[in-house]
């Protein structure tokens, strides 16, 4: 069936909450307001305010509360109105959620999903436009997921909710309204499994979340110039499915990594290092990265556009790599 990304997330949580009474949803405006981006539409009506918990604007407090509840056997879903606000809760995420199992020698666990939109949308300014996935990926003890399609969003959110570890689940405001085919009925997608979104033989593009759409559009344009691009969506950023990327690079010999986040210490740098280690001999050219600029995201439309990867830049990177520029 054709569903929006937003509806797919809504279905995933609704199905899981019907299945398991230990699951509750907590965050700002998740209940009576129906979610800041309407992802939790109808939830408080179906599940009641005990399981759909509106909070004050205190991300550290309610994220910490959710971690404590997870330690005591519940399975919280924390909605951050945007991932930017996760910075306010970073002490809880990094010092508690990610470490409690290890520090306790395996006695405690924190089955928890922290989800919300990351990345830029429509001129939201520097504090509401960040792509922080590399921060979370850096921390041992967390899983990080950033799906791009409604189908992947639903299947992966269900897996995240069933996982026994803390999972950071990064959505995107500009994806909420996008539509795609979603399988009917019950399904999950395993965490840590990439998906080849487009088959090709000349060059591999790795892109995730919103940038997957950019990469697919670039691939389409390039196909008109007889460049056959393979596009891989890792979907899960940590643990990363390196094998699928390696397999593709062995075939194409060329890799372009697209990410909206800042270039320096960005996730693409890690993916490149992993590929250099695992598949150096198969590369015909240095790995190229198309990334966000190393600046706070500006408000003004042309400046914002300039700060974020777009189709022409991806096309140019591929062509340059293939000697077709």
């Amino acid at each position: 069936m054709l569903l929006s990304y937003r509806e797919a997330l809504n279905q995933a949580m609704r199905e899981e909450m019907r299945r398991d009474p230990r699951i509750f949803l907590i965050g700002e405006e998740v209940g009576y307001y129906q979610g800041a981006f309407k992802v939790t539409k109808g939830f408080v009506e179906e599940f009641g305010p005990q399981r759909v918990v509106d909070t004050p604007i205190t991300e550290a407090g309610f994220t910490g509360l959710a971690i404590g509840a997870a330690m005591a056997g519940l399975r919280p879903i924390v909605e951050l109105m945007t991932m930017n606000f996760g910075i306010v809760a970073l002490d809880q995420i990094v010092n508690n959620a990610a470490k409690i199992r290890y520090m306790s020698g395996g006695q405690l666990s924190v089955p928890l999903v922290i989800r919300g939109p990351g990345s830029a949308a429509h001129q939201l300014g520097a504090q509401h436009s960040q792509s922080l996935e590399a921060w979370f990926c850096h921390v041992p003890g967390l899983k990080v997921i950033a799906p791009a399609t409604p189908h992947d969003a639903k299947g992966l959110l269900k897996s995240a909710i069933r996982d026994h570890n803390p999972v950071i689940f990064i959505e995107a405001q500009l994806l909420y309204g996008t539509k795609g085919e979603v399988d009917e009925g019950e399904y999950t997608i395993p965490i840590g499994q990439a998906d080849v979104k487009r088959q090709g033989t000349d060059v591999t593009i790795v892109a995730y979340s919103k940038m997957l759409l950019v990469a697919l559009e670039a691939a389409e344009q390039l196909s008109r110039e007889d460049l056959d691009v393979e596009v891989i969506d890792p979907r899960t950023l940590k643990p990363l499915d390196l094998q699928t990327i390696v397999t593709s690079v062995r075939k194409t010999g060329r890799l372009v990594i697209v990410e909206e986040g800042w270039r320096f210490c960005g996730l693409g740098a890690q993916i490149a290092e992993s590929i250099y280690s695992a598949a150096f001999d198969y590369l015909d050219a240095p790995i190229a990265r198309v990334t966000g600029e190393d600046v706070p995201i500006p408000y003004s439309r042309p400046l914002e556009d300039a700060a974020i990867p777009d189709v022409p830049r991806v096309v140019a990177a591929v062509k340059s790599m293939c000697g077709a520029a």
């Binding site: 550290a60 404590g68 509840a69």
Partner: protein, 325 residues
């Protein structure tokens, strides 16, 4: 009055003495480099952990900060496993992965020691949230120092606990110094630290934290109220740490005088209880000699166990980072 319950008082004294001798031995072991890292001793504050925990049921939750040995031992943890954890041994409570500041004993519902000041207080609200959610009549007791009271996370937790009437008891161990900073230079309302909680509508009471009977008496009332669903409670227990902030800090330093420490030592919680027992509970010096011998044996055995235990297998480095499916 000579009719207080002799066995009851002997038991309280034994627990406090165990903490005292255990901590003294820890300091010795630190000097011998058997224990490393940060080591914060509970000497002088024993009446709070013992008095408060004596009012709890076995299935209630206890959570603490980094000065956590006393709470863990008062909860009934095996002193050998606690000492082994301080030694970094495989037989420690957390298999050597936690250390002094991160003791956890899940079977005893000791949910951990946490070392980011204020960071565990939201976790306590989460434990309490979980018991309320699951309709269990449990209370959660959260220990922290007065140095944590001005922290933002403490205030967020107080607000959430009051807002949702969570069954949590906040116990502020006011030992008058956050490391070397006296309370009057750190907390605006230093003469009445509990105002921080009262301002959120949380009932609060101050107690003499050097008097184990006073602590327990107050706690028994408070636990009944909180268990009955009347919402959170805040206890400010006035105490004094006889030793330095950690082993890196002499018992008195630039920030307090030897005279001040000596003055507070006159109200040593062990002495206070002992005087009561001698005058009102038919106890004699022989009883205390016997307790010293008994506790001395326990501590000696704990050190022996820790010393003879193996260090963790290097292969355990990578276990317990995540829950494996």
């Amino acid at each position: 009055m000579g009719d207080m319950d002799r066995e009851d008082l002997l038991s309280l004294y034994r627990q406090m003495l165990l903490i005292r001798r255990f901590e003294e031995k820890s300091a010795e072991m630190y000097a011998l480099a058997k224990i490393a890292g940060f080591l914060h001793l509970y000497i002088g504050e024993e009446a709070i952990a013992v008095g408060a925990i004596a009012a709890l049921r076995q299935d209630d939750y206890v959570i603490s900060a980094y000065r956590d040995h006393g709470h863990c031992l008062a909860r009934g943890s095996d002193p050998g496993k606690v000492m082994a954890e301080l030694f970094g041994k495989a037989t420690g409570l957390c298999q050597g992965k936690g250390g002094s500041m991160h003791l956890v004993d899940l079977p005893k519902r000791f949910m951990g020691g946490y070392a980011i000041v204020g960071g565990h207080i939201p976790l306590a609200t989460g434990l309490a949230f979980a018991s309320k959610y699951q309709k269990q009549d449990l209370v959660t007791v959260c220990f922290f120092g007065e140095g944590a009271v001005p922290s933002g996370q403490a205030h967020e937790a107080f607000n959430l606990a009051a807002l949702w009437k969570l069954p949590v008891i906040f116990i502020c161990e006011n030992n008058r110094y956050g490391m070397g900073t006296p309370v009057q230079r750190a907390v605006a309302l230093y003469e009445n630290v509990a105002e921080a909680a009262r301002s959120y509508g949380i009932a609060a009471e101050r107690v003499d934290g050097m008097d184990v009977l006073a602590v327990r008496a107050l706690m028994r009332n408070v636990v009944d109220q909180v268990r009955a669903g009347q919402g959170p409670y805040f206890i400010e227990a006035m105490t004094y740490r006889f030793m330095g902030h950690s082993m890196a800090d002499p018992s008195h330093g630039h920030y307090r005088t030897k005279d001040e420490v000596e003055e507070h030592r006159k109200r040593d919680p062990l002495v206070v209880l002992k005087e009561t027992m001698l005058s009102q509970a038919h106890c004699s010096e022989a009883d205390f000699k016997e307790l010293e011998r008994e506790v001395g044996d326990v501590v000696t055995a704990a050190v022996k166990f820790a010393d003879e235990s193996p260090f963790p297998d290097p292969a355990s480095l990578h276990t317990d980072v995540m829950v494996e499916d």
